[in-house]
Amino acid sequence: MSFILIVGAGRVGSAVARSMLAAGHEVSVVDEDPLSHERLDAGMPTTWEDAGGRFTIGKALERDALVEAGIEQADVFIASTNGDNTNLTIAQIARRMFEVPNVLVRVMDPARAEWYEAQGLQTICPTRYAISMFEERLARIGAPS
């Protein structure tokens, strides 16, 4: 069982949080918007906390919020806010200031994702997936020439 800290509970962050909690991990979520807590609860038989999850309201760069959410104990840190630069900043903070062993960061811009990946960050680029999926489907259709 790992302790997973997720910063940014949008569609992606909250879905990953729920599946990781269901898989038996300890999961703590940070988001600046209290509404994102409802996204965690939605469709669940119990509240997020009753299911064993943790939630902290705070901005991604708020050191106190990260500490309160348990960053010092985290085995895995996931940066999944809606801002590339925010994600890249907090991912580096998690790695260098708090020495979290595993850091995953979502970066929408393929160019920045590629460069930071080369610098040693584990980046996940949904845009790159979308591009290759379009290309695959088009190849399968046999794009008319």
Binding site: L61, N85, R96, R112
Partner: protein, 218 residues
């Protein structure tokens, strides 16, 4: 010198004007269309439209040959990232970052983005929210140059209040470099009298702050 400025708000625009007037080549990158249009009307080809944290935008601006990159957007993460990319990917010699929220200064330091500077408007917020007990505000550290600049409001009854600058017992290695009074600021002379309510900027060697501040803040 070729300077790229990212962020065309008040700070970025005025910085561009200053650097241009000193004969530098400047590109100012702004991502808000309305702001870009206004800047382009004044500075023409100096203005470039785009998100300065995107690599292709920086490359279009010629970052490979830039001598200086200044990141002064209103977003600390943007400023931090632009500076990191400029220095580590494009090997720009000199970078300067604006810190909007002083609490984020620790992250600029952590990632080695220096110097980082809080702009004046945010220093006001800092004064309101985070004034240390002596009523002093740290404006700027220049660790490479071993200098600090601090700002203090002169308290009535303090040793310096009512005294000419030359008569204040300042420690060796400290100097009053400007006085903000009512509407304006000026550089004091030896016989300038410091008045209660003045805001003074003092330049000093690191470590002297505790000796200097009591003279002005009682």
């Amino acid at each position: 010198m070729y300077a790229i400025i990212v962020g065309g708000g008040k700070v970025g625009l005025n910085l561009a004007r200053e650097l241009l007037s000193k004969g530098s080549e400047v590109t100012l990158i702004e991502q808000r269309r309305d702001r870009y249009t206004a800047i382009e009307a004044e500075l023409e080809y100096v203005a470039q439209y785009g998100d300065g944290t995107e690599l292709w935008v920086l490359e279009r601006a010629g970052i490979q040959r830039a001598d200086l990159l200044v990141a002064v957007t209103g977003d600390d993460e943007d400023n931090l990232l632009v500076c990191q990319i400029a220095r580590e990917k494009y090997l720009v010699d000199r970078i300067i970052a604006r810190v909007n929220n002083p609490r984020n200064k620790q992250y600029f330091d952590l990632l080695g983005i220096q110097p980082s500077v809080s702009a004046t408007d945010l220093i006001l917020r800092l004064i309101e929210h985070e004034v240390p007990q002596y009523g002093t505000v740290h404006l700027l550290d220049l660790p490479g140059e071993k200098l600090e600049i601090i700002e203090m409001e002169v308290v009535p009854g303090a040793a310096a209040a009512g005294k000419a600058v030359q008569d204040i017992a300042m420690p060796e290695g400290s100097l009053v470099i400007s006085v903000l009074r009512e509407d304006g600021g000026f550089v004091p002379k030896a016989d300038t009298v410091i008045e209660p309510g003045d805001e003074v900027l003092v330049c000093l060697d690191p470590g002297l702050e505790d000796d200097v501040t009591p003279l002005f803040t009682g």
